[in-house]
């Protein structure tokens, strides 16, 4: 394999998160290494999505530390996380429904645009150059995901699977170094999942992007991830390479069931 799994970039230590009485996460620790594909699995309501939300600052855990590249991260807002190169997709698609695919992808590049309001109003100077330059980048993403034909379509009109792909594209457009994917393959058939896996692997491969992946399809998880962490009722019950996890009896009991 060409890519080299590197240092720990995000280290989560003893994270606990509560919503009123509901304990979404209890004392969870695990880490994410550079360039790896890290899967999070677990039954419904286990706290997987909440974990992602903690990582990119949507939720602030009551307890625990997040170490980012060796330094403890202070409480940060999602846009700051974005500034550090975190991008993500959502479990319930969170595309901007009223915009075209192209515009959705362009939003991914907002942090790199610097033109002022007035420049933009007159589409002049920096505004014009930026727009064209970033359009080029976005077109690369479009090519990569093979969504050329729907470039100008409002995303609301797209079928579910394509929306998922566009959402991935939006995250990619930001050229992230950490990509958080929340069930990117839910609601897809096998063929579409295969495509999606291909995209994820290629991103990981070509750009070295670190990926955190939540997924319920064990085939996918076992095939493409490097390490898997298993949550159940907010607690960590397993962590390791796929084969280890697959044979962990606790994981089998809580999540996989007997069929797998």
């Amino acid at each position: 394999m060409a890519r080299q799994i590197g240092e720990v970039i995000v280290d989560l230590q003893n994270i606990s998160l509560r919503f009123g009485g509901v304990k979404a996460l209890t004392d969870i620790s695990f880490n994410i290494r550079e360039h790896e594909i890290r899967a999070i699995i677990g039954p419904n309501g286990a706290g997987k999505s909440s974990m992602l939300n903690v990582i990119n600052g949507v939720y602030h855990p009551q307890e625990g530390k997040i170490i980012y590249r060796g330094e403890e991260r202070r409480k940060m807002e999602p846009y700051e996380a974005a500034g550090q190169g975190f991008a993500r997709t959502f479990q319930n698609i969170a595309l901007f429904k009223g915009m075209s695919v192209l515009d959705n992808l362009m939003t991914g590049r907002n942090l790199k645009m610097k033109a002022t309001l007035v420049e933009q109003a007159f589409f002049w100077g920096r505004a014009r150059n930026e727009e064209l330059e970033h359009r080029k980048k976005v077109e690369e993403v479009i090519d990569f995901l093979e969504i050329q034909h729907i470039r100008k379509t409002p995303v609301g009109r797209l079928p579910y699977g394509l929306q998922k792909r566009v959402e991935l594209g939006r995250a990619l457009a930001a050229e992230p170094n950490l990509l958080l994917l929340d069930e990117p393959m839910a609601g897809m058939n096998v063929e579409e999942k295969q495509d999606m896996c291909r995209f994820i692997l290629d991103v990981n491969d070509q750009f070295g992007t670190t990926i955190v992946l939540i997924e319920h399809d064990m085939g996918v998880v076992m095939d493409i991830s490097d390490r898997v962490v298993v949550l159940d009722y907010g607690k960590k019950i397993g962590d390791g390479v796929p084969d280890e996890v697959k044979n962990n009896p606790e994981v089998i009991a809580a999540y996989l069931g007997t069929q797998h």
Binding site: N44, G187, R198, D202, D223
Partner: protein, 276 residues
């Protein structure tokens, strides 16, 4: 295309005849779809994203209007009578209920209240209601533990269970299930299909289910239809479909060499089209 399944005696229960659906006056989505669901059977409606599965189900349950869609041709019959002009609630009273794709729980209501609204058409006594509730909780114990939570704050999977449970509260004879497995953990998926099977066997509930998870769907269904770009391209008994080479390759991810790892699939491989 018009070839009907050799249906069980008792004839067609639900049948759709050659319907065409247009959204927003311009977007033609279904181009003449016909299918039937015999009484007491489970029929799977398969197909890629955007093939029109959801649209078909909504055309049956009359929820299309709410999306500015229109059935412009064809008809829908249930128990021998046309139902395309009924309101959704009349249809529910007749026993046909749809579980919508994407959960659609009532976010501000608690899980239990969500379930109770499902029994709206049923005029039940307090006792009967509780019984009904217990039945649902029996199927989905997870819901019981979250019964007092506002549905909007429960996890994706919990909401999915809530939506299915809510439909069960209406004691339906026929359920249109749209992607029940989406976002559910594997063992819950199995559970849900077990529940489907159970209801089907014990209470003779018929199902029309739109699914992406072809593997599971075909395992539980009696018949299957495959929809592509708004047309039915293949139909047959479930085991027949399961053994069809094309279906195997494109919907089950199995080739003659068995299951391929997701890691090894090449992305230049393009789908074969039956129609184009």
């Amino acid at each position: 295309m018009t070839a009907h399944i050799a249906a069980a005696p008792g004839a067609d229960y639900l049948s759709i005849n050659n319907i065409e659906v247009i959204y927003d006056h311009v977007i033609l989505v279904l181009k003449g779809v016909s299918l039937t669901v015999p009484k007491g059977k489970i029929v799977a409606l398969l197909g890629a994203n955007g093939a029109g599965k959801t649209t078909t189900l909504k055309a049956i349950s009359n929820l299309l209007h709410a999306e500015r869609g229109d059935v412009t041709k064809g008809s829908v019959e249930f128990k021998g009578g046309r139902v395309d002009q009924l309101t959704p609630s009349d249809l529910v009273r007749q026993g046909v209920i749809q579980v919508m794709e994407g959960r659609h729980c009532f976010g501000h209501l608690s899980i239990e209240e969500n379930l109770l609204t499902g029994a709206y058409t049923q005029s039940l006594s307090r006792g009967q209601l509780n019984e009904q509730l217990e039945k649902v909780y029996h199927y989905f114990p997870r819901l019981k533990t979250r019964r007092k939570s506002q549905a909007g704050y429960t996890s994706g999977g919990e909401q999915q269970m809530c939506a299915i449970g809510r439909a069960l509260m209406a004691n339906p004879e026929m359920i249109l299930l749209d992607e029940p497995s989406m976002g559910l953990a594997p063992q819950i998926v199995e559970e849900i299909f077990e529940i489907v099977k159970d209801l089907n066997a014990r209470e003779n509930v018929s199902f029309l289910l739109a699914e992406q998870n072809t593997m599971v769907a075909l395992r539980y269904a009696d018949f299957g239809y495959i929809l592509e770009s708004g047309r039915i391209v293949m139909e047959g008994a479930a085991d027949e479909l399961r053994n069809n080479e094309d279906v195997k390759e494109f919907y089950l991810g199995l080739s003659s060499a068995g299951r391929k790892s997701f890691r090894d699939v090449k992305h230049y491989r393009r789908r074969k089209r039956w129609l184009s």
